[in-house]
């Protein structure tokens, strides 16, 4: 019987300094031990063995076998091509393959390598000119040895078939469809060639996106019409027919999976993987504490209590790859509707936000300030608003009520103004609690500058289909953006005009200069040059504050002590848990 440490002595213990939190965020798992070993000062952090009792760099040889037990909160469907929700993409990622995936390692992956690509179905690729990519498929890749594919080899025709399927039914088809001109299989079906419409430097990253080109076999679609009834692909796991959408999904190891570890042991190590459907966070924590689950997500506010209750568990922290931001009534930009049509007002709004204070509420163990690119993309893609590189625009992020008031008064709002704030009052409140916490603080945070808020809640379904999809009816809204996995998705989706197919341009920003900058950046094939231009755009957008980014909190995943071989949870594996995350998991315990 463990007496839980009461919550208030948590505050007696030193609060984690921001610096410390950054280290936690930047590194994770084994990396944490590394940082500590190198004598990084721990500042006020007491003797409490930290925080994330880190996994020592995987010791011993992986033991194949065993069943990993995780959870998901909701199953909305099985077909990753038709789905708009990351929930479905995450489930499908155990069973289906992409041509490329995101690079992961066990332990620390430097931020500069977040969202870089690694081979999956494509064993290698070449790039003879700016608009041609030729992928050579892994010759060992086979579809699952069950009906209807019966272990057939994956060939280049399958890629072409999947591409056509994606272009005909996917709600996300523009992600690649706007770039790719044609997809062709070679005569011997071992290679597939992508011809682009114009040079696109992020093409490989985009190909690894889990919203897009999943390789679904022709037989499945021909038999069932879509991928909603079962999952049959070429991924490391096979969905077992005993799965029930509202009870538990059971994934069995695909014995013919084409990847092996360095020692030649076939992957995945696990025999099976079970995901219990648990909607209630208390239920999940209870099941974990009782040892009925091997891994769960822990809301950051609960971390300290969680560690007290589960001293042996491994906790991995990561920057959440979801942008939280304020967006305005589209008429702001289309008709010049005051007050937010004036960039001084938008900048003042941003300066009124004490982002560190918001983080202390939303993510007590640390976090970052996002730019229009979320901090969860890592330092290679995200320009830290507090870095010297941000230059002039940095002051737009600094908490400065005096300056905000001065800006407001120069814009003609010396006495401030009243404004509606739209937000979702359900679903987010349970699946991403920090959203609700930040939202609760926003009202009082903006008051000192004279911005008086009336809260306008809407049910999630209503919010998503109206406010989020079409822009707030008036005033502004506080929202969360989808999980984007490359900077192009943020910039092209949120800032290019809607007429150019930018589905996430909530406020209908239309800035010709910016559009040209984005197009220019995306056409860069030299990745270093592209990054440089990306930072230029972030600086430009920070000066305009078309959207006001709010905070990037941490998210936490926890595993039982016997779970080994976890890859870093920062960055890419956040949602594409399947191939990136589960391939190398193993359990260090007797079955």
């Amino acid at each position: 019987m463990t007496e839980p440490r009461s919550f208030w002595d948590r505050y007696a213990r030193a609060r984690m300094s921001r610096r410390r939190a950054l280290q936690l965020a930047a590194v994770s798992g084994g990396g944490l031990a590394f940082a500590a070993a190198c004598g990084e000062e721990e500042e006020e952090e007491g003797k409490t063995p930290t925080a994330a009792s880190p996994t020592a760099p995987a010791e011993g040889k992986p033991k194949p076998g065993g069943t990993y037990r995780g959870t998901v909160s909701l199953v909305l469907g099985y077909d990753p091509i038709k789905a708009t929700t990351f929930l479905t993409h995450a489930l499908a990622s155990y069973c289906y393959s992409r041509l490329l995936r995101y690079k992961t390692t066990q332990g620390e992956l430097p931020q500069s390598e977040w969202y870089s690509v690694a081979p999956e179905l494509a064993a290698s690729w070449e790039n003879p000119d700016d608009t041609t990519y030729i992928f050579t498929l892994n010759p060992d890749a086979k579809f699952h040895n069950v009906e209807p594919t019966m272990g057939r080899k994956v060939d280049a025709e399958d890629i072409v078939y999947a591409w056509n399927l994606y272009q005909s039914v996917s709600p996300n088809k523009n992600n690649l469809g706007s770039i790719v001109d044609s997809v062709q299989a070679s005569a011997d079906k071992t290679q597939v060639t992508f011809k682009l419409k114009q040079p696109f430097g992020l093409f490989l990253n985009r190909l690894a996106s889990f919203q897009d080109l999943w390789i679904l076999p022709k037989e499945l679609i021909e038999a069932d019409g879509d991928g909603e009834k079962r999952m049959v692909g070429s991924g490391p796991f096979m969905l077992d027919p005993s799965s029930k959408r509202d009870v538990k999904l059971v994934y069995k190891k695909n014995p013919d999976y084409f990847e092996k570890d360095e020692d030649g042991t076939p992957l995945p190590y696990l025999d099976a993987l079970e995901l219990a459907i648990i909607a209630d966070v208390n239920q999940a924590l209870t099941q974990f504490a009782a040892g009925n689950l091997d891994g769960i997500a822990v809301p950051p506010q609960l971390l300290q209590t969680f560690r007290d209750e589960n001293p042996k568990a491994t906790v991995n922290l990561a920057l959440r790859n979801v942008l939280s931001f304020i967006y305005f009534d589209p008429r702001t930009y289309t008709e010049g509707l005051p007050p937010f049509n004036d960039d001084r007002v938008r900048r003042a709004l941003s300066m009124t936000l004490d982002r560190d204070a918001l983080l202390s509420v939303a993510s007590p163990e640390g976090g970052e300030w996002p730019n229009i690119i979320n901090a969860g993309m890592g330092s290679a893609w995200w320009l830290d608003p507090r870095s010297a590189e941000m230059g002039e625009a940095a002051k737009n992020y600094e908490y400065n009520i005096e300056e905000a008031k001065a800006l407001l008064s120069s814009a003609g709002f010396a006495d401030g103004f009243d404004v509606n704030m739209h937000f979702s009052s359900s679903v987010y409140t349970t699946i991403v609690p920090y959203y609700d916490l930040v939202r609760q603080v926003l009202g009082s945070a903006l008051a000192p500058a004279g911005i008086k808020i009336t809260e306008v809640p809407a049910e999630y379904g209503v919010y998503i289909t109206t406010t989020f999809a079409k822009g707030p009816a008036d005033g502004f809204a506080f929202g969360l953006e989808s999980v984007f996995t490359d900077v192009g998705m943020y910039l092209a989706n949120m800032l290019k005009p809607r007429s150019a197919g930018a589905g996430r341009n909530h406020s209908e920003v239309d800035d010709a200069e910016l559009t040209a900058m984005i197009d220019d950046m995306l056409a860069q094939t030299d990745i270093e040059e592209l990054r440089k231009k990306n930072f230029e755009i972030q600086k430009y957008v920070s000066g305009k504050m078309y959207y006001v980014p709010v905070v990037t909190p941490l998210e936490a995943g926890a595993s039982q002590e016997w779970v080994k071989g976890e890859v870093n949870t920062s960055g890419p594996t956040t949602y594409a848990v399947g191939t990136e995350g589960a391939l190398t998991l193993w359990l260090d315990k007797q079955a």
Partner: protein, 322 residues
């Protein structure tokens, strides 16, 4: 008043000189308290609830300064998050730095407004519908009862959730909390009325069959007169008893619907809403977040039920003297 009925004359004759109204009330209250200690305890809780709801802030005096509550419900101290009870915050603070005691006191207001309004509407509606339907019978009764059938069989939670989503037009002059409160009051009122109209209809039918009603009709009393002078007074006790108990049920229903996210929206605190957000999710971090609003709901519901039970014992003539 042209003629008085026989029954009325008899009633007048039996009238005798009694102590002053105040004295009588005091004596009745004392007798009630002695005979029904639990009922009196319930009544006390109800009074305390009303007191908190009314005087949480100085709104009745035209100001928004907090009165009973130590702080305004909007006030947040971001340096005091999830604190336990302390001198500064007797009930602690929540995850966004609100003073819990203030939140609980303000929360009484939502429970009281929604509970009382819904039940008042229900009583009015159920009284009218039940009495008219029971008294006149026939096709009117048949028609009304089908409507009641629909409401009784309809899952309340769906009706309330849908109503709340439908009423809350953004961009109207009144805030969302106003529209949601209206939706909840209307929804709960109608749902409660459906159930109790059946009981009142039954009571009406049984009163109608009494000989004094026949007598009144025989001497030419109009339907309206019979309804108002004979049926209503007899059914009134039933309405009062039903209403008291339903107040508890209405408060519980409001809390449950808020828990599911369809209640009064923030920032105005409601007990169910406090439990639905961090209250329940962060129970492991700060149990007090869940303890206070949970206890407040339980106490309020308990109070109304106990008071209602005692009232039933005292008022229902059929049970008197058993």
């Amino acid at each position: 008043m042209a003629t008085q009925t026989v029954a009325e004359q008899l009633a007048l004759e039996s009238y005798e000189v009694r102590p002053s109204l105040a004295g009588r009330t005091a004596r009745n209250v004392w007798r009630f308290a002695r005979k029904k200690p639990l009922g009196a305890f319930g009544a006390l809780i109800v009074l305390a609830l009303l007191f908190c709801a009314t005087f949480a802030d100085a709104r009745v005096f035209g100001s928004s300064e907090p009165l009973l509550a130590p702080q305004s419900y909007k006030q947040q101290t971001l340096t005091d998050l999830n604190e336990g009870p302390s001198r500064a915050h007797p009930f602690g603070t929540d995850s966004t730095g609100h003073d819990m005691l203030s939140q609980v006191i303000y929360g009484a207001r939502v429970s009281v407004i929604i509970g009382f309004s819904a039940v008042a509407i229900a009583a009015l509606l159920a009284g009218t519908v039940g009495i008219v339907s029971g008294y006149f019978g026939g096709w009117l009764d048949a028609l009304v009862q089908r409507a009641v059938d629909i409401l009784i069989a309809f899952p309340a939670i769906v009706l309330l959730a849908v109503l709340v989503s439908v009423f809350a037009p953004p961009g109207t002059e009144r805030g969302t909390e106003f529209w949601r409160a209206m939706a909840l009051i209307a929804g709960l009122g109608v749902l409660i009325a459906a159930g109790s109209s059946r009981v009142i209809r039954g009571a009406t039918i049984s009163v109608k069959q009494n000989q004094y009603v026949d007598a009144a009709r025989a001497i030419g009393a109009s339907d309206l007169r019979i309804l108002l002078r004979y049926i209503l007074p007899n059914v009134f006790a039933v309405i009062i008893i039903l209403s008291t108990v339903q107040l508890g049920a209405a408060i519980l229903a409001e809390a449950s619907i808020s828990f599911l996210g369809y209640g009064i929206p923030p920032p105005f605190p409601s007990w169910g809403g406090m439990l639905s957000r961090e209250g329940i999710a962060f129970m492991r971090v700060n149990p007090w977040l869940a303890v206070w609003p949970g206890m407040a709901i339980a106490l309020a519901v308990y109070g109304f039920n106990m008071f209602g039970d005692a009232l039933r014992d005292v008022l229902d003539p059929r049970l008197r003297g058993v």
